[in-house]
């Protein structure tokens, strides 16, 4: 049976659209399901209360604090290293053996699964460097997880700065470092910031690397070397141990909302800052 091309195209169109629709349905289902089951759990007592009976009851305050601390620590470490690397790659070198090696390192790092980061962070930071399960160990591990992302987005952002802006600075007597600091980086800021904030989002979502480096203590962390349980880890433990389905849904919803918020902030920041340049 020979089907006329345009008819066939219609059929294909419907098929592809259905697949795409299915994907979206899955997305909405996940978010909707979690929201419907978890929304009623989100109360101020939940967010700001302490957990009781290992999380069976009570709130999730320590995990919220832990998540904030650890993600901030991760981007505090990863941003200077990532932006510095990106600056070096774009401003100081032509394509050469050195840049290829650095890029290889960054790409390789991007492909490493989170459990391996967990293993590595555990053996290096927790054991060898004697940090114990701690915010510091977790933050360092997460920092290197998000490093490739920050390098990539920063590189793109820096490359996007028009070359003639740099020439203006040079022709006014600016040194390279001044040109980078006063012209290039401020103009690349939206892109860089977006990458940083997305990295923060990834830190919030990460579980495997965090549980083996920051631990799972339910106490509020008071120093860098205190163990801490992030929301993602808490959610996992609640679900796995079956301690409280309700609170599991609530924590999951908080996780999704936080990540969504972070993404929205990232994109709107980039939008607003790029508009300011017009």
């Amino acid at each position: 049976m020979v089907v006329r091309p345009l008819v066939w195209q219609r059929i294909v169109w419907v098929g592809l659209a259905a697949m795409t629709l299915f994907t979206l349905v899955v997305l909405f289902f996940i978010i909707g399901f979690i929201t419907s089951k978890g929304a009623h759990v989100i109360t101020p007592e939940f967010l700001f209360g302490m957990p009781e009976r290992m999380g069976k009851e009570g709130g999730i305050l320590p995990t919220v604090i832990a998540t904030i601390y650890i993600s901030l620590l991760a981007i505090a470490i990863a941003t200077p290293i990532g932006v510095g690397s990106a600056v070096y790659l774009t401003e100081y070198t032509r394509e050469s053996a050195i840049t290829r090696v650095i890029r290889f390192g960054a790409d390789a790092l991007a492909g490493v699964p989170s459990i391996i980061f967990g293993l590595f962070g555990f053996i290096l930071f927790v054991i060898r460097l004697r940090m114990g399960w701690s915010l510091a160990a977790g933050g360092l591990t997460l920092a290197f997880m998000i490093l490739p992302t920050i390098i990539r987005t920063s590189e793109e952002a820096i490359r996007a700065v028009p070359y003639n802006l740099r020439e203006v600075s040079y022709s006014l007597g600016g040194a390279k470092s001044q040109t980078i600091a006063r012209v290039v980086l401020p103009n690349a800021l939206p892109g860089i910031l977006t990458g940083v904030i997305l990295g923060m989002g990834r830190s919030v979502a990460e579980t495997a690397a965090t549980i083996f480096t920051a631990g799972s203590s339910l106490l509020i962390p008071r120093s860098l070397f205190d163990p801490a349980r992030t929301m993602a880890v808490h959610f996992y433990i609640l679900a796995r141990e079956g301690l409280s389905m309700e609170r599991a849904y609530g924590t999951a919803l908080m996780l999704i909302v936080s990540i969504l918020l972070i993404n929205v902030v990232a994109y709107s920041l980039m939008f607003r800052l790029t508009k300011k340049m017009r």
């Binding site: 091309p5 066939w8 195209q9 294909v12 169109w13 592809l16 659209a17 697949m19 795409t20 994907t23 979206l24 997305l27 996940i30 399901f33 979690i34 290293i81 510095g84 690397s85 070096y88 100081y92 050195i98 090696v101 650095i102 290889f104 390192g105 960054a106 790409d107 390789a108 790092l109 492909g111 490493v112 699964p113 989170s114 459990i115 391996i116 967990g118 293993l119 590595f120 555990f122 053996i123 290096l124 290197f144 490093l147 490739p148 040194a175 390279k176 470092s177 979502a205 579980t207 495997a208 959610f235 996992y236 679900a239 796995r240 999951a252 999704i256 990540i259 969504l260 993404n263 994109y267």
Partner: protein
């Protein structure tokens, strides 16, 4: 001079990314290699007995488990993902793409533990009702992973399709081909290496995924012979036992990590070769 100092300093910083990857490889291998040497490479990889208590560390069931789950996940994720990419690239109206793309990227932001949780609460019971068995299975893992790698596959395939020179498309349309024929006969082949790279990278992500798989796979130590049987992957093995392992047992988990590392390195290199070949 000050400028030179700054330049050298930045070089040092830039090398940290490279230093990290080597550090990671070093530590993982350092813990794992002695164990493999002790147990014997063949016994480690090919034996089906994993009994840390008795000093037996065969990871074959986990290797097979990972392979099965991953291949199935890629089949699901690649077909679904490529379809979405094709739709977004050629058939969706322009205005819709601007909404759809961010939404699909949202899928990437959902934490893996949430995927696992949904899998446990929704997918596993459904499989149990529909197909029998415990529900925790290769099938459940593959479906969840397939969905999780969708954003990766879609994003890279879309890039590959967009990278096809518009001339190819216009030439084909000018000869009277329909948009689908053009897509199928001209754009897809032209974007082939990029799409294959998308699949390989999706595969890499699936192999490395841990938390979601732990929750839906059942984690039995048997060789999975049917799709409905529970399974344990390499990643689950590490995550499940790391919390209480010590000594040789811990070293064996690092050795498992080593195997994982090597598999992912191979996949990433393959993706690189595939994309390099077109230039």
């Amino acid at each position: 001079m000050r400028e030179k100092l700054i330049e050298k300093g930045l070089l040092l910083v830039a090398f940290s990314a490279v230093a990290m990857i080597f550090l990671i490889a070093y530590f993982i291998f350092r813990e794992g290699v002695p164990l493999v040497a002790k147990v014997g490479v063949w016994d480690f990889i090919a034996s089906t007995r994993w009994s840390p208590g008795k000093g037996q560390f065969g990871i074959l069931p986990m290797i097979v488990g990972s392979v099965e789950v991953t291949i199935l996940a890629v089949i699901i994720g690649a077909s679904l993902g490529l379809s979405c990419a094709m739709f977004l690239a050629e058939f969706a109206p322009r205005w819709s793409v601007r909404i759809l793309k961010p939404m699909i990227e949202l899928l990437a932001g959902i934490p893996s533990v949430v995927y696992g949780f949904i899998g446990v609460v929704v997918l596993v019971p459904w499989i149990r009702r529909a197909f029998g068995g415990p529900g925790f299975s290769v099938l459940a893992s593959a479906v969840i992973l397939g969905i999780m790698i969708l954003p990766t596959v879609i994003a890279i395939s879309l890039d590959a399709l967009h990278a096809v020179p518009p001339l190819y498309k216009e030439g084909s349309l000018a000869l009277g081909a329909t948009r689908w024929q053009t897509l199928y006969r001209v754009q897809l082949p032209a974007a082939r290496s990029g799409i294959i790279a998308a699949f390989i990278l999706g595969m890499g992500r699936a192999v490395g995924e841990t938390m979601a798989v732990i929750m839906v796979a059942g984690n039995a130590l048997t060789m999975p012979t049917s799709l409905l049987q529970p399974v344990r992957t390499l990643t689950s093995n590490i995550a499940l036992e790391m919390g209480y392992a010590s000594g040789d047992h811990q070293a064996a988990l690092f050795a498992t990590g080593m195997v994982l590392f090597v598999i992912i390195a191979i996949l990433n290199t393959a993706a690189l070769i595939v994309t390099r070949r077109r230039t």
